[in-house]
């Protein structure tokens, strides 16, 4: 979706503020927000792509106003409601509805270290041979889906060169919408800065993106 989250190349959002000796969390609720979000993922009711898309769907003005973990909580609440884990009334009241079933958390303290260490690989085996190889010139498609995509606007309909084949990975554009993983080859593609931004960009500079095969066509 062409939302404000897709902000690569925008001006006017201010200067970068670098905080010396920044703490991991500035307030305790941020730590709880991170942990709740991770722990709820163990219900397997959604996936990382759907989670990103839930945050992208926060209305643009709100998205820009909210702090990072505010966005996490806003996205998580919508995902939990959509998955039927909680109701909006329960969130508003802070209490479980009378007669609501009592579950057993899938993530226990004893399981945290192992599950975080295991991670969640998105690599998959596919029978298809890669369509592109390093050195191939490619052009990104000019797509503007209303749903989730990881092809940013600034890199659409641009020519680049394949640097590396990362193998097949879960395709976010389908996975975010629970339409299956549809794994396909993922490539690192380099675009010259001038191809993306015009003649005032650095002549030597470049931007590399990781792009799925469906985003690319031969150039």
């Amino acid at each position: 979706m062409n939302g404000v989250h897709d902000m690569g190349g925008m001006h006017g959002l201010g200067a970068v503020v670098h905080e010396a000796d920044e703490p991991v969390f500035h307030e305790r609720w941020e730590a709880r927000a991170l942990a709740i979000t991770l722990a709820m993922g163990w219900w397997n009711k959604w996936n990382i792509d759907a989670t990103r898309h839930a945050r992208e769907r926060i209305p643009g003005a709100e998205y820009l106003r909210m702090s990072y973990y505010e966005k996490w909580i806003a996205g998580l609440e919508e995902q939990m409601i959509a998955a039927g884990l909680v109701t909006r009334a329960e969130i508003d009241s802070g209490r479980a509805a009378p007669g609501a079933p009592h579950a057993t958390p899938p993530l226990t303290a004893a399981g945290v270290a192992a599950t975080l260490a295991r991670g969640n690989s998105t690599a998959r085996s596919v029978p298809q041979r890669p369509r592109f190889k390093p050195g191939d010139r490619v052009r990104t498609r000019n797509i503007n889906p209303a749903g989730h995509t990881r092809l940013p606007r600034y890199a659409r309909a641009r020519q680049g060169v394949v640097q590396r084949d990362h193998g097949a990975h879960v395709y976010p554009d389908s996975n975010a919408h629970f339409l299956g993983e549809q794994p396909q080859h993922l490539y690192s593609v380099r675009f010259e800065a001038r191809e993306l931004w015009g003649v005032n960009a650095g002549v030597r500079d470049g931007v590399c993106l990781d792009l799925w095969e469906a985003y690319l066509e031969p150039a």
Binding site: R32, L196, V207
Partner: protein, 202 residues
């Protein structure tokens, strides 16, 4: 937000959806166990051991796992090497993708709209905001983390560090240098030399 998150947590605990002790363990992991000192040890090893550096640049996931750093948001790692000709800079324009096992959770500036929006279109301007001015002859190569591949910048080893061991080298390496918004320098001489570059600070 503090009240809202507290209410949400108590609701989820009441419904048996989360275990508060598990939340404590997650927080402890990222506050106390996983952070940029991990990445600094990877960099120091690469500076000290050419065979390790070759493995790191060839298969960063496996090379980083050799030091025990694995898991969530680092399942697929790529290390990119800074040289006198090329300076690498990592961003996630679409959200906040960041290599957790080696750098921990991302700092606020990395997740902020100013950094996400301008790192790709104006990397030199962004680096200037970090007090890093690179010669025009140096290529800036920006890595936009659009998939589940996570990037670690291997900074240049600073001149004058030849006699240092791995532990001393690791102490020089900052989070910012491993994202590419700083370079690694030796601490300024106590007598007050030219002044330490930003990259030396933690």
């Amino acid at each position: 937000m503090a009240l809202r998150v507290k209410a949400l947590e108590s609701l989820l605990v009441e419904k048996g959806l989360v275990d508060p002790a598990a939340l404590d363990a997650v927080i402890d992991t990222y506050e106390n166990k996983v952070g940029p000192r991990n990445g600094a040890r990877v960099v120091a090893r690469a500076w000290s051991d050419p065979a390790y550096k070759a493995r790191l640049l060839d298969d960063a996931t496996a090379a980083i796992a050799e030091l025990g750093y694995i898991g969530r948001q680092g399942e697929h790692m790529v290390a990119v090497e800074n040289t006198p000709q090329v300076h690498n800079l990592v961003v996630c324009t679409l959200c906040s993708c960041y290599p957790w096992p080696v750098l921990g959770l991302p700092p606020v500036w990395y997740k902020s709209s100013p950094y996400r929006s301008r790192a790709v279109i104006d990397p030199r301007g962004v680096l200037r905001e970090f007090a890093l001015e690179l010669p025009a002859a140096v290529e800036i190569r920006v890595w936009d983390s659009t998939a589940e591949i996570r990037y670690l910048v291997l900074p240049q080893r600073p001149a004058g560090s030849e006699g240092m061991n791995e532990e001393q080298l690791a102490a020089l390496v900052t989070r910012d240098a491993m994202v590419g918004v700083a370079v690694v320098s030796l601490p300024a001489p106590a007598a007050g030399g030219a002044g330490a570059a930003r990259g030396v600070r933690p």
